[in-house]
């Protein structure tokens, strides 16, 4: 049995970077404040001392330059892990992400693949300034050529990050910063991977399937426990990867109950819940007992934090949504 450590999610990210860099000299980290400072959230703490400034690189403050340089490095076979400090600052690099990161393999018929993993903390609830709280995974899930991974536990964070770094395709790895330090998990010291594109059942239940991911997994589980008291038994499925979606897991969990709720903090319109609802409708119409309920952020610009508690789905809102699906 290998040794484990009791780690928070952000520590598990750091540990994932550490073990992958130790295993493979071609892995390197670049971004703003990732070096001596160890990252603004400490996700790269100690890596600079361990691996030196050539592999843990503080860059100029320029997101397009960070992503674009990583594209060039990856085209040459390195495995760069660029960090964008907050997902709200990915947009200066958006052209590099969608025009190049996503397309190099197709464009070159596979001669140049990009084994790069772009990490960014995303999501709300930390009382942050404007542009520091958005959840825009749907942008990237919409872009063919990318994979989009969002862990919700420390154990998953390390295993999925390792899998992303080793994946031959470019991965957008979004980290739910609300739960960076919310709880701890036993995380093996040794390197391990978890499969990209596989959902995980967090709670088993017979009455309704609730699909979620990232920071919303916790309030969803809370809601499920509260409803259990009232005799409503929820299956909670953590998608873990939003591109490609685990279609089989979605269909299987839905067909077992005929009722579904999708929870995400991203705005409702055009969000992943719409895609999941469409999958259910395409695959399992005859099992459907109720409309699929979406509990999501609103279609407004993310509010400053005095109002964010009203914006983000809470356990109470999720409970209400689940009841609607169950009682229809």
């Amino acid at each position: 049995m290998s040794e484990t450590q009791n780690l928070t999610l952000v520590q598990a990210v750091r540990d994932g970077l550490y073990t992958e860099m130790r295993e493979d000299d071609e892995v390197l980290v670049l971004g703003q404040d990732v070096g001596k400072n160890g990252g603004v959230f400490r996700a790269t703490e100690g890596l600079f001392d361990e691996f030196g400034g050539d592999r843990v690189v503080d860059t100029p403050l320029a997101e397009s330059g960070i992503v674009g340089a990583a594209v060039g490095m990856a085209a040459m076979g390195l495995k760069p892990v660029p960090e964008i400090q907050f997902s709200g600052f990915m947009y200066p690099g958006f052209d590099q992400i969608v025009s190049h990161m996503a397309r190099f393999r197709t464009r070159s018929r596979g001669r140049f693949n990009l084994p790069m993993t772009l990490r960014a903390p995303y999501g709300g609830g930390i009382r942050a300034p404007e542009h520091h709280s958005e959840s825009k995974e749907a942008f990237y899930a919409h872009e063919a050529g990318l994979k989009v991974v969002i862990p919700s536990t420390p154990y998953d964070a390390k295993g999925l990050l390792a899998a992303s770094i080793r994946d031959p395709d470019p991965v957008i790895f979004l980290e739910p910063k609300l739960i960076y330090r919310a709880f701890r998990d036993e995380v093996p010291e040794e390197p391990y991977t978890l499969p990209i594109g596989e959902a995980s059942t967090r709670r088993e239940g017979d009455d309704v399937a609730v699909f979620t991911y990232g920071a919303m997994t916790r309030p969803t589980l809370e809601a499920a426990e509260a409803l259990a008291e009232e005799g409503i038994d929820c299956e909670v499925v953590d998608l873990r990867t939003v591109s490609p979606l685990d279609r089989e897991a979605i269909v299987e969990a839905f067909e077992a109950t005929g009722r579904a709720v999708v929870v995400h903090e991203a705005p409702k319109t055009g969000g992943l819940a719409a895609e999941i609802t469409a999958i259910i409708q395409e695959e399992s119409l005859l099992y459907q007992e109720a409309p699929v309920k979406r509990v999501a952020g609103f279609d407004v610009p993310y509010p400053l934090y005095a109002l964010e508690d009203y914006y983000l789905p809470t356990a109470a809102r999720i409970e209400e949504g689940i009841k609607e699906a169950v009682e229809f």
């Binding site: 390197l28 050539d54 690189v57 860059t59 100029p60 320029a62 397009s64 330059g65 992503v67 674009g68 340089a69 990583a70 594209v71 060039g72 490095m73 990856a74 085209a75 040459m76 076979g77 390195l78 760069p80 200066p92 052209d95 590099q96 025009s99 190049h100 190099f104 393999r105 197709t106 464009r107 070159s108 018929r109 596979g110 001669r111 140049f112 693949n113 063919a144 050529g145 994979k147 994946d167 031959p168 395709d169 594109g197 490609p244 979606l245 279609r247 089989e248």
Partner: protein
């Protein structure tokens, strides 16, 4: 004294517009000089034929290069075999020097993705269409080479308009900070579609932008292939040398002119004076090099005629090969999006294939 120790507005020159020697002739043997001439003739003839194919509806939109052969062939010739070129979308001439078959360039502009798949051993990045977006790639790729101790040089092409883009700034700035073996080669052809060079920046030169990044910047007469070769060669050697006492990256501004349109989709007579075009045509890089080589006794009528024959045959052959290439198989759309087809994409492909089997290509294609 280094070729980089000069005023930014003092372009390096070797031949004047009549092919008279006005600077230091680079150390190239006769075969290399004739090789450059042959490549320039090939690029020009290819370009004329490509425009004509587009006009006849045999090819899609195409960006012509005529007038820019001196800059393209002169610079690409300065690379060693292990070096890399990172193009924008107009560098068909430079790419052919690097060994990219003409047929592939034609296929790309005929809408075949395979045209952009540079073969193994041809160190050319795929065409990058969004302006200046390839600049950070060249920096990152050169950085990778430096980190691995390989120290190959990466020659990155872009136009005058690209120097206004954020990616130009970010890519060159990173190169300065990390001292990467990158040569930034600005094809200043005076016009970004219809917008003149003066509308891109108030800077007197584009070369002087290097100053802000702490790297070398130099102007060169881009209609003079020998001057372009000299200055690019110096920049490449400096890039490859980890011991150099100068910054490894260089910004070269090659002053030149595109004789034709930005692409076959625009009409330059709307925004440029014919007089201006004529004055630049008198600086044409091809007759200029030819006159020099004739005066040196390296070329004569017989040799030129022989080159013309070879060039025409090669282009005709490439066109025939490209036009007889079958339409790509539709599964190719799916094949390269990911290393392994994700399940949903596999389902989409299967549904598409079943529909195509049932209804045939007439359900998709107008013939």
């Amino acid at each position: 004294m280094s070729v980089f120790d000069r005023a930014y507005d003092d372009p390096v020159r070797v031949l004047d517009k009549d092919g008279e020697v006005v600077g230091d002739v680079p150390d190239l043997d006769d075969e290399e000089l004739v090789g450059m001439y042959r490549h320039m003739r090939l690029a020009r003839h290819f370009d004329e034929r490509a425009v004509s194919l587009q006009r006849q509806g045999r090819m899609g939109t195409y960006p012509p290069l005529s007038g820019q052969e001196g800059a393209q062939i002169g610079s690409a010739t300065a690379l060693d075999e292990d070096d890399w070129m990172v193009p924008s979308y107009r560098e068909h001439g430079a790419a052919l020097v690097r060994g990219l078959p003409l047929k592939q360039t034609l296929l790309y502009w005929m809408g075949h993705e395979a045209g952009n798949a540079t073969p193994e051993g041809v160190n050319v990045f795929p065409v990058a269409v969004p302006i200046a977006s390839q600049v950070p790639h060249a920096t990152g790729a050169a950085w990778a080479s430096k980190l691995r101790g390989e120290n190959d040089a990466f020659l990155c092409y872009f136009g005058d308009g690209a120097t206004s883009e954020g990616d130009f700034h970010e890519g060159v700035n990173f190169a300065g900070v990390f001292d990467t073996p990158t040569v930034f080669f600005c094809n200043n052809n005076q016009w970004a579609i219809s917008v003149p060079r003066e509308r891109q920046t108030r800077s007197a030169t584009l070369a002087q932008k290097a100053e802000a990044y702490g790297i070398d910047g130099v102007q060169v007469d881009g209609m003079d292939p020998l001057a372009v070769y000299s200055v690019t060669r110096a920049a490449v050697e400096k890039a490859r040398d980890p011991e150099t006492d100068r910054p490894r990256p260089t910004l070269i501004e090659a002053i030149q002119y595109r004789f034709g349109a930005h692409t076959t989709a625009d009409d330059p007579t709307v925004y440029r004076d014919e007089d201006e075009v004529d004055s630049w045509k008198r600086k044409d890089p091809i007759p200029r090099l030819e006159r020099y080589l004739r005066s040196e006794g390296v070329l004569d009528d017989e040799r030129v005629a022989e080159i013309e024959t070879v060039v025409e045959a090669r282009v005709a052959e490439a066109i025939e090969a490209a036009e007889s290439e079958a339409r790509p198989m539709p599964e190719e759309m799916f094949e390269h999006a990911y290393a392994e087809l994700p399940p949903e994409l596999e389902r989409q492909y299967e549904a598409f294939a079943a529909f195509r089997d049932a209804h045939g290509d007439e359900a998709f294609l107008e013939e």
